[in-house]
Symmetry: C2
Subunit: 341 residues, 2 copies
């Protein structure tokens, strides 16, 4: 009956066998600072430009993933990678030195979940032995591309989010221990007419509500069936909106909802307003905080609903509103195989 049956209930749930996360200085000073595999105090990552810094961040994260996974670049059959820099050049230039088949993807802050979904298709669907996902963001490369040059010193609005300097990477294999990916659901574009490029939470909340409600409805699960329903980067403003929108859909997310943007910083102390954002925000938190707890069983079911504001500065200047999207990935401590014959 449901055309997504093969996605939301994966017949052969793959295993996330390894992961890696690296974060910048400000992120290292936040509440999750201790979770990341590595942190780097030099925001230039030893490079000359912000864009090169972001590529270096991805490069280091990928090398760390290979180390954790006990494998080499040649063992990865397909890598899904992306970032916020135009032409996904953070990924492109990072991957130049690796001989890995590469699919470039763009989902703004939802990119990590988009990559996980496609990685699942490659591994479960196409029986590739190993797929990887890699995404990053960098405060300085994003800020000057999407808003103002840093040296301009523009004042941030109260609703604004802070693009995290962070990256996450994960390895997906057909066999392995927990965590498993039990289901995936691609997002649909939602646009509620929001035109303020400084309020991305509001632009993304409708997409998050759409995807989460569709996932819960299709799987006939309730929010309480999950230890956490984790959005990627709605921030404080967008999270409030999501809870309201879900309530209108008949779902109560209170208690179970977590947002990576809100988790990344101690927003008042660190002056990050509505919270963190960027492809690297939820990627690093999923890899640094949630996956380890899903490996040990401290968490058993996590619905990761990564949101992306498909913001184009050019289209915003032309008066357009900001479309949002949200991709969902269901992580579990259990493979689900034990329940079946």
């Amino acid at each position: 009956m449901n055309e997504y049956e093969s996605l939301i209930r994966l017949r052969r749930p793959p295993s996330v066998t390894a992961w890696a996360s690296i974060a910048g200085k400000k992120e290292s000073e936040g509440p999750l600072g201790k979770c990341f595999d590595l942190t780097e105090a030099d925001s230039h990552f030893g490079q000359m430009t912000w864009e090169q810094a972001e590529s270096e961040l991805q490069r280091r994260t990928l090398n760390l993933l290979l180390e954790h996974g006990g494998c080499e670049a040649a063992d990865i059959a397909a890598l899904f990678a992306g970032d916020l820099i135009n032409q996904c050049s953070g990924s492109t230039y990072a991957l130049r030195g690796f001989d890995i088949p590469y699919y470039g993807i763009y989902g703004a802050c939802s990119t990590f979940a988009e990559g996980l979904e496609l990685g699942v298709m490659a591994v479960c669907g196409m029986e590739l032995p190993r797929a990887a996902v890699l995404t990053s963001s960098h405060f300085s490369s994003a800020e000057r591309q999407f808003r103002f040059p840093l040296s301009y010193g523009g004042q941030r609005t109260p609703n604004a989010q802070w693009t995290c300097t962070a990256a996450g990477a994960a390895l997906i294999e057909p066999q392995g221990g927990p965590p498993y990916i039990r289901g995936i659901l691609p997002g649909r574009i939602r646009d509620a007419g929001q035109t303020d490029a400084s309020n991305m939470g509001a632009a993304m909340a409708p997409a998050a509500a759409d995807t989460i409600a569709r996932y819960l409805s299709a799987t006939r699960t309730r929010p309480s069936d999950y230890d956490a329903i984790v959005t990627g980067d709605l921030g404080i403003v967008g999270s409030r909106l999501l809870l309201k929108l879900m309530e209108q859909n008949g779902y109560d997310l209170r208690g179970v909802h977590r947002d990576c943007g809100a988790m990344m910083f101690d927003c008042k102390r660190q002056d990050t307003h509505s919270g963190g954002s960027g492809c690297g925000c939820s990627a690093s938190i999923i890899c640094g905080y949630f996956l380890p707890k899903l490996r040990t069983g401290e968490l058993r079911h996590v619905l990761y609903a990564a949101t992306g504001a498909l913001l184009s500065p050019m289209l915003c200047q032309q008066g357009e509103s900001i479309p949002g999207i949200c991709h969902a990935v269901h992580f579990s401590y259990e493979s689900g195989k034990e329940k079946r014959k």
Copy 2:
């Protein structure tokens, strides 16, 4: 032995059941002008800006695809779309009005092949009933983003390519008549150190040679086993380089190689120098020229190797060279099922 066995020899080759192509005025005046489903003389496509024009081009192409496929938006389980505009906004804004689950992809001019590969994974691998691929490019939105504002009137170099105003879309289903997709192979990033943003053919040729040689080697086929080996947008300059590189690899592509960039225009008469380029170039030619001939059997085997110059104006300004990528899709009149037990 070959980790790509499941990709290069698809066990259940899906069918490309419908396609659509729309091209602009200059493209309509080229040698393939009669092949496209529709052509549009208004380069603004009735919109106010070039970016909105490109979205309208994608919107019309998607509607045409739905018409040709005899289906509705709701019937498409996943759509893989992308373009050259930053943040893939040509696709994002085009798809806002459609309730179709959407994966944003970026592979520069290789995007259509990348989308076809992921569509195959969705349909063959994940048993989705129907996936679609949609890509476009627009001369005016690309020119001002990647090179100079049009009104600047910059002189084009002899090696330069002309970004096509065109779009292509295809529908992939598990069952149906010819053409079938028999194999796919994702590309790896190749960078030969080329730094001239006006010579993308040279930046892409090494990636094309890498992917084509890997595909031929893995499938143990020779160039003569294909009616055509079609690169996407190497142009005249890049095509010459490809033939040389392939010769060094022990393959003779003469006679069998076609290039969409070289095919799109009568380059001398139309003053397009090295030829066409852009995500819409090979997309519209595959959909307008090759797929119809593969449906009737006039062509039986076509290896489509779409090339992308992962050019970032920002990184070029920083002195970086231009990485290239090439994704391969093997179309066939035969499903290949008849040969198996």
